[in-house]
Structures are given as C-alpha cells and as structure tokens.
Amino acid sequence: MVPDWDNGMRPARFAALRSLFAISDEQAMWRVQMQEDEAAFAQLVRRWEGPIQRLCTRMTGDAHRAEDLTQETFARVFAKRKDYQPNGKFSTWLWRIALNLCCDEWRRRQRRHELSLDDTGREAAASVLDQLTAREPAPDESLDGQERGALVRGALLQLPETHRAVLVLRHYENLKFREIAAVLDVPEGTVKSRMADALTKMSQLLKPMLGHELLKNLKTQNEPKGHLTI
C-alpha cells in the first residue's frame, strides 16, 4: 500500500525524485532502533501520520481523539523501538500498534459510559433518519454528503471492533486481505469472512438510507421527459 507521502506540503514535481533517494520504512525504523536517529523517526512520522490518523478517526468516530491517538501511536513506536523485528514489515507493526490503542480507547470509553456503541451509533443514525422522515423530500432533494457520511459513521460504530478494523483497513486504507491478516494475526479466510459479515451488517444498518435514495431514483425515472425547467 502507498501511504500518504508528503500530502501536498511540497511541490509534487519533486515527489518522484525524492522517492528515488528516500530510505524505506524498514531502513528508517532500523536507524531509529539501533542509532535512535531522530531524523529517521521524524521521516516515519511524516509518512504515516496521515494514514494512522484516518484509521483512528474511523475506528473511534472522533477526529479530535484520533489526533491524540496518532501521537500516542508514534510515542509508543519510539518507546517500543527495541521490540521491532527488523525482518518484519514496519507498516504491519505500526497498524497493529494503532489498532490496539484504538481498541483500548474504545473499551475505556465504554467503561466510562462516555460512549455506548448501541446508543451513540443508533442515535447518530436515528437523528439523521428522523430529519429525513419528518418531512417529505422535495423532488430534486437528495441526502447531502454530510448526512450520508453521518449515517455511515453511525453504522460503522455499531460494528464489533474486529469487523470494523477489517472494514476500515480494507475499504478505506486499501490494504490487501493478506496484509490485514498479518496485522490482526489471524488467517486470511477469517479476515474475508469478517469482511463479508461487516458488509452484510452495514447493508442492514444503511437500508433506510438506501430505501430513501432508491425511492428518489424511482421518482426521477418515472417523471415525464421533455419537461423544461428554468
């Protein structure tokens, strides 16, 4: 997978040239491990903080907490640098650390009743659905991006952590199934099975939205043609 390298911070025309001379993640981590090379560590942070922050946001549903979790992830990477196995892939190790932190955070919040999956996820979805069903949509009105996004976020947070992790890594972060299997340390078949379950569950949770969109599409298709609108 290609991480979010230097996302728009520098002129893109030099990106290819820089990549020729850039050291790999594993080389950088080796330098951090053996020489405590701060420059190499800063490079790893630059390369991976975007993907890790996205993962934490999707896993917790909280963008602000995700920033903290991202910093905690890299702090833990540095603290545990001696545990890194140089023959392993750095990204696998990094994803695993970030996921563990996300799961810890999620459980901690559940214990403190700051956030209940059943309540918050359903509430988020229900609030949008209430708004949708409270009024009859105009013929040219559709769910806007934010509402759809909130529905998806609410539904995603209702999934079990194991299923949510698989779905986020495969769909949003574009990891292969075998890479996810390495991150989660489970067989590849289990990852695929969880993915199928997660998509089925998401389909069930998002059916109200799908129904609404479908109804609108049907209405649009059934409208008489050749009607000019100014």
Partner: protein, 217 residues
C-alpha cells in the same frame, strides 16, 4: 448447486483473484440469483461506505505534531548557545576556581559512579563471555572424552572376547590331552594288572624243592 462461499465473493468484490477465478464466479452469477442478490447487497454497502469522507487533516496534524517539536528544539538550541555565550562573557576569571571547587566533589562522585557502573558492566560482559567460552570448551571436551571412552570400551570388549576364545581353545586342548593321558593310564594299568595277575599265578604255583604245590581239594 455449489455456491461460492462469502470469502471467495470478498476476493471477487475487492479484485484479489486471478482472471480464471473471476470468470468462474462471473459465470456462477449468471445462473444464481441468490448469489447475485448477496453480491448486489455487498456492492451497495461498499458504495455507501464512500459517503463518509474525512477532511484532509493530515496536513494540519503534521504541522501540529512536527512543527512544535522543531520549534522547541530550535528554541532550546538558541537558548543554550545564548546561555553558554553569556556565561563565557560574564563570568570573571576569579570565579572559575570557586566554581571548580564547588563542582569538583560532585563531578568526582559522578565520575566514580560512572566508572563503577562501567566496571560492573565490563565485568558482567567478561563473565558472560568467559562462561560461554568455558561452557563451549567443556562441551567439546566431554564430546572428545565420550569418543575416546567409547573406542576404549570397544577395544577392551574385543580383547576380552579374544582372550575368552583363546581360553576356551586352551581348555579344549587340555581336555583332549587329559583324556589321552587317562586312556594311556588305563591301558597301562590294565597291562599292569594282567602282568601282576600272571605273576601271582606263577608265584602260587611255585614250590621250593621240587614238587609243585597242589591245591587242597
């Protein structure tokens, strides 16, 4: 009809299969409305997942995470340089001796501690290395000793077997010789007995002065 399992459909959905498997699954879809419905449901869910877009927070986070570290490091470096320079300029020569006297015990103590720590670490390393070498040598010696012992045991066993064999042969030879001697003795004894008997008969028949002795009837 054999339906492909969900795992295979996930590989199909995310294009992680080869063209042959893809063609096979596609052919199955043409004939199986159940699988087509499942796949349609998954595709729709997958499409809807894209509705949750995140703002491009990476740049902001990068600035928030990396820039302060650099700024703080730069500020600390400048502060240290300024402090060092100010100290060099402001300190009077007379204070140097005073400062040296003040910090000398602390420096000595610290140096002693560091030396002691280094010494212990070096000692530990040496002991570990020595033990490792000694262990290795002991294992080698034991292996050599076992080999020599085994060879010696085999040689001794062979010698004992040879001696026993030789002893058996000797005993057999002795037995034969003894038997031969016994036979000779028996034959000689028999001849002696016969001779003695003859002599006894002759002696009995002998009478001094003429007439032979007549046996009483």
């Amino acid at each position: 009809m054999n339906h492909p399992n969900p795992e295979e459909w996930m590989s199909y959905l995310y294009d992680e299969i080869n063209s042959q498997e893809r063609a096979s699954l596609k052919a199955h879809l043409q004939t199986c409305p159940d699988c087509a419905a499942d796949l349609g449901e998954w595709q729709a869910a997958r499409k809807n997942l894209d509705a949750w877009r995140l703002p491009r927070a990476a740049e902001r986070a990068r600035v928030a995470f990396a820039a302060p570290a650099f700024k703080w490091a730069a500020a600390a470096a400048i502060f240290l340089c300024a402090g060092f320079w100010a100290g060099r300029v402001a300190s009077a020569p007379a204070n140097v001796e005073k400062v040296r006297v003040a910090i000398e015990p602390q420096l000595r103590k610290q140096l002693r501690q560091e030396l002691a720590q280094e010494f212990h670490e070096a000692l530990d390393r040496t002991a570990t290395a020595t033990l490792a070498v000694a262990g290795e040598q002991a294992r080698t010696l034991l292996a050599d000793y076992a080999t020599v012992f085994e060879r010696k045991r085999i040689a001794e066993n062979t010698a004992i077997a040879s001696a026993l064999d030789k002893l058996g042969q000797q005993r057999f030879a002795d037995y034969l010789s003894l038997k031969k001697d016994l036979d000779t003795v028996a034959v000689n004894a028999d001849a002696g007995f016969r001779s003695t008997e003859q002599q006894l008969i002759q002696l009995a028949d002998y009478t001094p002065g003429g007439l032979p002795y007549s046996h009483p009837k």
